[in-house]
Assembly symmetry: C2
Homo-oligomer: 200 residues x 2
Amino acid sequence: MKAAVLYSGGKDSSLMAVILQRLGYQVDLLTANFGVFPSWKSANNAASNLGFKHRVLKVDRTFLEETVHMILKDGFPNQGINHLHRKVLQIAAEEYPVVSDGTRRDDRVPKLDLREIQSFEDSKGVQYLSLAGWGHKTINQLSEQLFDMVKEPTSMENNSDYEIEIRYLIAQMEGEGSADKLFPPHIQSRVIGWREDEQK
Amino acid sequence: MKAAVLYSGGKDSSLMAVILQRLGYQVDLLTANFGVFPSWKSANNAASNLGFKHRVLKVDRTFLEETVHMILKDGFPNQGINHLHRKVLQIAAEEYPVVSDGTRRDDRVPKLDLREIQSFEDSKGVQYLSLAGWGHKTINQLSEQLFDMVKEPTSMENNSDYEIEIRYLIAQMEGEGSADKLFPPHIQSRVIGWREDEQK
């Protein structure tokens, strides 16, 4: 059976991809792009090094604009990112019977609550999977065992999270400073391939 | 790394065992027993047919008695079963750095809430994993692909859930009828081995 993983090139979504593949799913990794900035490249690179099929899920720019308006109004990104993630899940569900992401137990954004998951599955006739039963400690440990990774400050070039295109659009509309305030710089772990003793 | 799966021989805990094994954990399947009735036999059989190491986790009978008192007082098994499951998790955590069960997203009992999980992990220095990000539809589908299973009415001989020893003790204390009212008969899926095209 086919399964889509919404994919950023980070360890959470990479681990979800590995779990599904090892259970026998035909896994496609999908990275949403809104046509504003080619932020999918870093995820594509990780997917290709892991030997997974990767697709850019082209999504209408208006959803990103809606999200940016929401974030600027809130002065805080959480609600906007949740809104965007739900849209992307719905678009993926048009094509895949199983749609998943790397959301962990201790993630707060993006995250669907039980009611939203039920409504998403029922309305789209899809199965939604996440890592909600797994905490960051376990995911860190497994990722160290499975993947070669680099730790580095997030930049426009090395990250495929929604944040990148959101920042880009905010910077265009309001100047670079406003985006920095909403998304402070941070350190990320990026998957760059398998550990030597692990195979696809 | 070693990981324990609290194991009933059902599809949920069997799937958890497969996921962990395919990620590289050394998996031990544990079935709690309180010395009242040898209900671990069915789980041992499933584990052995799947090629997993199985252990009976001997737990003091007083915990079962506590649970039965709680259930008889409540007139309903949920709180008692949750209480028992937490005890068993804590005992498993004395020996294993990773302790897991087959709790699904749509399970209600036994289930730990986020606060309980955090407190369990922190107090025991353990990682707790469940299938909380996966719904019954996905688990049913995967189990059909992975396992040979039988569907049958639950009996004292074919089930290793806490229910069996709880019923046994209630029947001893209050007569068979009281146990039947609290745990109405139901149909279960029991794992009896791998599907032909799946390997350990």
